[in-house]
């Protein structure tokens, strides 16, 4: 067993690495954190997801303060969808409290593995189109004011966009909130899917708005995690600090690399961890 100081340094290093991977893939640190903690460091999944939920709030708030300056985040759309994610998160965290108190941890391993493997698909098809196809506004566009514009520094132009199918976005967001509460992750990929695919918003708007929403969703679930004792102070402290450092380094690297090979390496890591989580859940010795 590791001595306290060594253990703390290990937590910082692992969570910084997860923060880097998370910010480069856009999946958030928690996606890599929980599998590494549970599979390789002997940390109970209850504490791993508690720490990861805390780290999600840290990265969301940290990044959001930078994104707000760019004015790409659409606060109206984000806040509207928060109704569903916060409700979903309450349902999800109550469900996981039931699961843990009945010692059904294996369910969480399997679901986590499946969520990781489903991200593989999202990673591979991602960002083929920077901007969505133009669509006709529907009734929700007008009622909920689903429009906006931002200056795209890469395309060197002002982008105007409209969103549609608010109701479909809400349904997906409830599910994203549920997964967030259940697994202690931000479920950013699912949130992006809701805005990108269902509501036809540009990728940049979806990712920054999703980042904004993740913090609020995680804060909702954290009270139930706190109450049931899933937040272990030593682990949560190291994780929050480590992920913040990692996310900061990640954003600095991000501007330098757009290489496809790197995405394939990350995807391979996802497959590897995803399969191991499912196997652990099924009772094989990982």
């Amino acid at each position: 067993m590791l001595q306290p100081l060594e253990f703390f340094i290990a937590i910082i290093l692992v969570s910084a690495l997860s923060g880097i991977l998370g910010s480069l893939t856009g999946l958030g640190g928690a996606t890599f954190l929980v599998p590494i903690y549970t599979l390789y460091m002997g940390i109970p999944i209850v504490y791993a997801s508690g720490a990861s939920l805390i780290s999600t709030i840290a990265t969301s708030s940290g990044a959001a303060s930078a994104y707000i300056k760019d004015r790409i985040t659409n606060i109206r759309i984000g806040m509207g969808l928060e109704i569903a994610t916060t409700s979903g998160s309450i349902a999800g965290s109550l469900t996981v409290a039931y699961i843990y108190s009945h010692h059904l941890q294996f369910i969480i391993y399997i679901i986590f593995g499946i969520v990781l493997l489903s991200q593989v698909y999202v990673q591979l098809i991602k960002s083929k189109f920077e901007l969505p196809k133009p669509v006709k506004p529907d009734w929700t566009t007008k009622v909920f004011g689903l429009y906006g514009k931002y200056y795209d520094a890469a395309l060197h132009k002002q982008v105007e966009y409209i969103g549609i199918r608010w109701w479909l976005g809400e349904i997906i967001m409830f599910f994203a909130g549920f997964i967030s509460g259940l697994l202690g992750i931000g479920s950013g990929a699912l949130k992006v899917l809701g805005m990108d695919w269902a509501m036809n918003l540009p990728m940049k708007v979806s990712t920054t708005t999703s980042n904004f929403m993740i913090g609020v969703t995680a804060a909702t679930g954290s009270s139930i995690y706190w109450l049931f004792g899933y937040i272990q102070p030593f682990l949560a402290a190291g994780t929050a600090v480590g992920v913040l450092i990692g996310a900061y380094i990640g954003t600095k690297i991000l501007v330098r690399i757009t290489n496809k090979t790197i995405r394939y390496i990350f995807t391979a890591i996802l497959i590897f961890l995803g399969i191991q989580m499912v196997l652990r859940g099924l009772g094989f010795g990982f």
Binding site: S65, I75, M79, G215, P233, A237
Partner: protein, 127 residues
């Protein structure tokens, strides 16, 4: 300075304060080799018996003058959790000042969900 900048600064300040408190707590923890009656080995074990269920938020604040390391860590975590809540609250003010009725109501509902989860649910669950 417009409203978005205020929100941006609020988020940043929240994260910085909580990170500082957490780091102070960890340094104190290693200095005193323990906290709140637990040894550092008990606190730092992967299967630690020390977790949030035995820390009551109101007691954490009153225990700060005693320099109990874990109280600093927990206060930092509480401020971290409070940051998005403050952000939503500022959102209510922002939409109200824009006279956007629909979104003021929507943001109040989101704020209510947060308050429900943080303050009412613990009472309902009777823990």
């Amino acid at each position: 300075m417009d409203f978005n900048d205020i929100i941006g600064y609020a988020l940043r300040i929240g994260v910085i304060i909580s990170a500082v408190l957490i780091i102070i707590g960890v340094i104190l923890l290693f200095t005193f080799q323990g906290s709140n009656g637990f040894s550092i080995e008990q606190i730092a074990s992967p299967n630690s018996i020390v977790n949030s269920s035995i820390f009551i938020p109101s007691e954490i604040v009153s225990g700060l003058p005693d320099l109990r390391p874990l109280d600093y860590v927990y206060l930092g975590l509480m401020i971290l959790i409070a940051t998005p809540v403050v952000r939503v609250f500022l959102g209510i003010i922002q939409f109200a000042s824009e006279r956007n009725k629909l979104y003021t109501i929507i943001t109040i509902i989101v704020f209510f969900n947060l308050m429900f989860a943080i303050f009412l649910l613990p009472l309902i669950l009777g823990k």
